[in-house]
């Protein structure tokens, strides 16, 4: 069942008088329980596409559907509300809250998504257990290794059970072995919980866990 669908997406950036066309009519879909890898060299438009699919920015042209519903909104407040209900993000640079512990980082995301109090604490604990950080739950991010940080980020992206998880270069700041562990964890969680997972990367090793690989070059999709 398709959970996320982008159709003929165009995106250009206006920088003064110069207009840069970054995406040239890209189409892509993702089903529940499916792991899709979007591969392409640096500067090919991967992050831009991920942000459009993730309702962070709007396309210049083209449509997005989440759960069968078109994303018509362009106001930032409505986009935020769509992200809150449907999407989880994992960033290349982790972007954890440095003043919060592992457990609190996950719990705060649950709070934002409308889950509060004891229930938030319980779910956060469950997610921290699922990424095998039970004995690091009260650590601050600065006391964690890169791999551990990315595990927290994954737990946070899972918070609130969003049907779609989008990850931008999740292994780029990790060494190979740790990266492989993270990918295994990702795959495991996506399958077990039936989430759609789109991983954007320029690292060819990531394809090992893919159900499907899509290539992007200069803003055009090439089937792999």
């Amino acid at each position: 069942m398709t959970i996320l669908k982008g159709d003929s997406i165009f995106k250009s950036f206006q920088d003064g008088k110069i207009e840069t066309q970054v995406l040239h009519g890209v189409s892509l879909d993702l089903a529940r329980g499916e792991v899709v890898i979007l591969e392409g060299p640096s500067g090919s438009g991967k992050t831009t596409l991920l942000q459009i699919l993730g309702c962070i920015m709007s396309p210049t042209k083209g449509t997005i559907e989440i759960n069968g519903r078109p994303v018509a909104a362009s106001r930032s407040r409505e986009l935020a509300s769509i992200r809150k209900k449907n999407l989880g993000f994992v960033f290349q640079q982790f972007n954890l809250f440095p003043a919060l512990t592992v457990l609190e980082n996950v719990e705060y995301a649950l709070n934002i998504k409308g889950i509060d109090g004891k229930e938030a604490r319980r779910q956060a604990q469950g997610l921290v257990d699922a990424v095998e950080l039970t004995n690091r739950a009260n650590y601050l991010p600065r006391d964690l290794s890169g791999g551990q940080k990315q595990r927290v980020a994954i737990a946070r992206a899972m918070a609130g059970k969003p049907p779609v998880i989008l990850a931008d270069e999740p292994t780029a700041n990790l060494d190979t072995q740790v990266g492989a562990q993270i990918l295994a964890l990702f795959n495991d969680l996506a399958k077990r919980e039936n989430r759609g997972l789109l991983i954007v990367t320029h690292d060819p090793k990531v394809r090992t866990i893919a159900d499907r690989v899509i290539q992007i070059r200069d803003g055009f999709i090439h089937a792999a």
Binding site: Q51, K84, F89, A99, L100
Partner: protein, 375 residues
């Protein structure tokens, strides 16, 4: 809810300290400055409030207790015969020059009465007997005079209006808004020392009402018999003296200006540190937005930080100001901070910090969550 605002604020201890110190500084500035002003204002009416006189008779249009004009001392007889008057006495208030051992000359405000005890003047005595004032060329000086006159002891002599007078006692809390030290001496002695000016003349008539007498009818009758004088109740006369300094001299305005400047310092410090801190954490605010947080989630964080800075800064500022009270009293300055005034400063501090946070909010409300994807 995880308290992201609070935890982020105290995560950077140096900045947190600077923010709180800035607020505390502004709070102490306002409390101490206005408290000192209230203390001075208290001086402007203290003799009126402490004396047991129910009515004060002044010459027409006297502006405040420290600026008397003299009138005939025989008027007191007309007052004494008014039904409902239990007692009426003349009070001279005059300025006399005092030659100091250093060679300098200063002025003292002299309260001269025949019977001090009856009128509860002076109201607080540190050393000596007020009855002794009638027994010779004596006077009592307030301990606060040490600031202006240099240190002195009971038993010392001072040259007052070219007359050697012995200090036979010391009083407490007898200070004038004019900052001239107050002294007390016998009525006849004061008249003889400034005879060309005070002979047969008084500054005020103090009136005590008989039990059960109606204030308004007594006042009316006195006014009828003394058409060229004013008659005030204790409260009216205190208010007139107080308002003279606040309104007529512009000192009230000056005090408002201090409060305004104090608030300005506070707002600038808080706005500045909060804004810098917000800019440093901009990626975290972007993350809050990316995971679906709304602008109200963001404002909650900033408002929380501002309120914590306000609460901590106010508490420390208040403690500081309270710590200044005993220090000020050592140099005979009064710092008066009434409860409602403290409450107003507390509310003002919160409003000040919340408005400072609006600057940060305007910035964060407009950030694009896509910044969290940039490397």
């Amino acid at each position: 809810m995880v308290d992201l605002g609070f935890k982020t604020l105290i995560h950077d201890k140096t900045r947190f300290t600077i923010t709180v110190a800035g607020v505390a500084f502004a709070v102490t500035l306002v409390l101490a400055q206005v408290g000192l002003f209230f203390g001075l204002l208290d001086n402007s009416t203290i003799s009126i409030r402490k004396s047991s006189a129910d009515l004060w008779i002044t010459s027409h249009n006297t502006a405040n207790v420290d600026f008397p004009q003299q009138f005939s001392e025989t008027y007191v007889e007309r007052v004494r015969s008014v039904p409902g008057v239990a007692r009426a006495d003349n009070l001279i208030l005059t300025y006399m020059s005092v030659s100091l051992p250093s060679g300098a000359t200063e002025n003292t405000v002299v309260y001269a009465l025949k019977d001090f005890k009856t009128w509860n003047l002076p109201w607080s005595i540190k050393e000596g007997q007020v009855e002794d004032l009638r027994r010779g060329r004596f006077f009592m000086l307030d301990e606060g005079a040490a600031n202006r006159f240099g240190s002195f002891k009971t038993g010392d002599f001072r040259e007052v209006q070219e007359t050697r007078l012995r200090i036979v006692g010391q009083t407490r809390e007898a200070q004038s808004f004019t900052t001239n030290p107050i002294s007390f001496m016998d009525y006849d002695l004061a008249q003889s020392m400034q005879s060309d000016y005070l002979n047969g003349r008084t500054s005020y008539v103090l009136v005590k009402l008989a039990p059960g007498a109606d204030v308004e009818s007594v006042r009316h009758e006195i006014q009828r018999r003394l058409p060229y004088n004013d008659v005030f109740t204790r409260d009216e006369w205190a208010k007139k003296s107080h308002d003279y300094w606040v309104v007529s001299t512009g000192l009230g305005m000056n005090s408002y200006l201090t409060v305004f400047l104090g608030c300005l310092v506070g707002v600038v410090v808080v706005a500045q540190t909060l804004y810098t801190s917000t800019m440093e954490h901009i990626k975290e605010f972007g993350t809050v937005k990316a995971i679906g947080g709304s602008n109200s989630d963001i404002y909650l964080i900033l408002a929380r930080q501002a309120s914590i800075a306000a609460a901590a800064g106010f508490t420390i500022g208040l403690l500081f100001a309270l710590g200044l009270v005993p220090l000020a009293s050592k140099v005979h300055l009064k710092l008066i901070m009434p409860g409602p005034f403290i409450a107003m400063v507390a509310i003002g501090t919160l409003i000040m910090c919340l408005s400072a946070s609006l600057l940060s909010f305007r910035k964060v409300a407009n950030i694009d969550p896509s910044l969290v994807f940039r490397t």
